[in-house]
Amino acid sequence: MQSPTLREALAALRRAPLLTGLSAGMVALALFVAGLFGTVTHNLQVALQSVEDRVAVVAYLDDGAGPAPIDRAVADLEARDDVREVRYVSQDRALEIARAELPELAELGAGLAENPFPASLEIVLQDGGADPDAIAVVAQAAAAIPIVEDVQYGQEWVDRLHALRRLTGVAVMVIGAAFAVVGALIIGTAIRIAIFARRDEIYIMRLVGAKDAFIRRPFLLEGAFTGVVGGAAATGLTWLTYQTLHRFLEDLSWIPSTWVVGGIAAGGFFGMLASAVAVRRHLREV
């Protein structure tokens, strides 16, 4: 004979495959919702990151600045730890960009006596540099360079981005917590119902002299199994949804595989935990 725990768990599956299947399905659905939420969250993060990457301090240069001092300024700034990249934007390029971004400027052009846009250095900060204080430090450093006439860093943008980050942080936490609770309740409920359907059996086991631990173990295994199967199925469903959406939204990216593995493991652990709680409560009631 195999281990009693394994055998009992398999017996449950064999005797009531419907029930176990339904529980696993329910868990899968709960985790699927979590998976969709994860996909949205992940893509939000990616999107935010790409916006953050665009946060740059712009140092406008004297119109007369020559190539040598400009190169030196670029080198100096790039040497800083908090700066990732420095890009030089010439006067001509600035005009071009302005034309592309503001339709009204398309009207300008050859008609102008002189290019009104100054040359500039776009200073891209290291990751996580969107913090207003960190930006101010870089801006001061840039302002200290002689050929720099003025430094701008889109105060408004930085603040807005910060607000957005806080907001999405809160939203992710609140909705994420809601989903986690929902998932927890669904798994727990599914397993309580499974136990409810087998209450006679548990009662008989006790009458025959089984220790609580002995009764509990197969349920824990079953819970873990249900959780893992549910988690795997949820991953499959999320992947299908992702694939479908991906056809229309090419920017969409798949959640990191660590999340997937973590999610399935959490499903298993969580299934076991929910079983433990449900059985413990049930054993106390009988």
Binding site: M1, V208, G209, A210, D212
Partner: protein
């Protein structure tokens, strides 16, 4: 072995057992009789502590109804074999598995389980049906599986609630002989039954009669000595 000290069991609807004191020794064979609803099943439930007395104390194999916690009940249950009026077999499992389960739970060596269960099932006349899920057995067959299960763990006490209620004469004799034999080896037996024929046939056993929750007759009277004959 079993002692009731002024035990009363009240249900919401009234007392099922009222002020019963009794004392059953090691290796005694007791028939518990009485009309339907007189409290036989309740008495058995009190002995294996699936019900606790509302008043008085029940002591069984060293366990007291007052001190034994639900966590420790399994220790008592392993010393008590149970045959229920409604069988209470584990559904979806074979006769073999039902008997084996009791052995496993009580920590028998895994290798010994199958042969022992098989032997017990033969003794109750079910050798050929041991691999059958219990749902597919007839009433009498289920009852015999329940008896085999109760005997499997070699309990100190066997509690049997109408164990022959679904058995024909031949099967009854087989089962009774088996229980009688094991009783001779020292296992106490408390058997609730309304089959007076049976009680008459095993005349050397002690007889207790309940009426409306009260112990109204005890054949061993004041003298609690056991006279066991086969």
């Amino acid at each position: 072995m079993i002692r009731f000290i002024r035990v009363t069991k009240e249900y919401a609807s009234g007392a099922a057992i009222e002020d019963v004191s009794l004392d059953i020794g090691k290796g005694e064979f007791v028939f518990l009789t009485g009309h339907s609803g007189s409290g036989k099943t309740t008495t058995l439930k009190l002995i294996h502590l699936s019900e606790r007395p509302t008043d008085g104390e029940v002591r069984v194999a060293g366990f007291s109804s007052i001190r034994t916690t639900p966590r420790d009940l399994w220790k008592l249950r392993r010393k008590v074999g149970l045959v229920f009026q409604d069988f209470r077999l584990l559904p979806g499992r074979t006769a073999m598995e039902n008997v084996g389960f009791a052995l496993e739970v009580t920590g028998s060596p895994p290798k010994a389980i199958t042969p022992k269960a098989q032997r017990l099932l033969s003794q109750v006349g079910l050798a050929s049906k041991s691999e059958r899920p219990v749902e597919q057995l007839s009433g009498g067959e289920r009852q015999r599986v329940a008896i085999a299960r109760a005997l499997a763990t070699e309990p100190l006490v066997l509690l049997a609630d109408e164990p022959t209620g679904n058995l024909d004469e031949r099967a009854t004799r087989g089962v009774m002989d088996l229980i009688w034999e094991i009783n001779a080896l020292g296992m106490a037996v408390v058997m609730a039954t309304h089959d007076l024929e049976l009680v008459r046939r095993y005349a050397s056993a002690r007889v207790m009669e309940l009426d409306q929750g009260r112990l109204v007759y005890d054949s061993s009277g004041v003298d609690r000595a056991v006279t066991h004959t086969t």
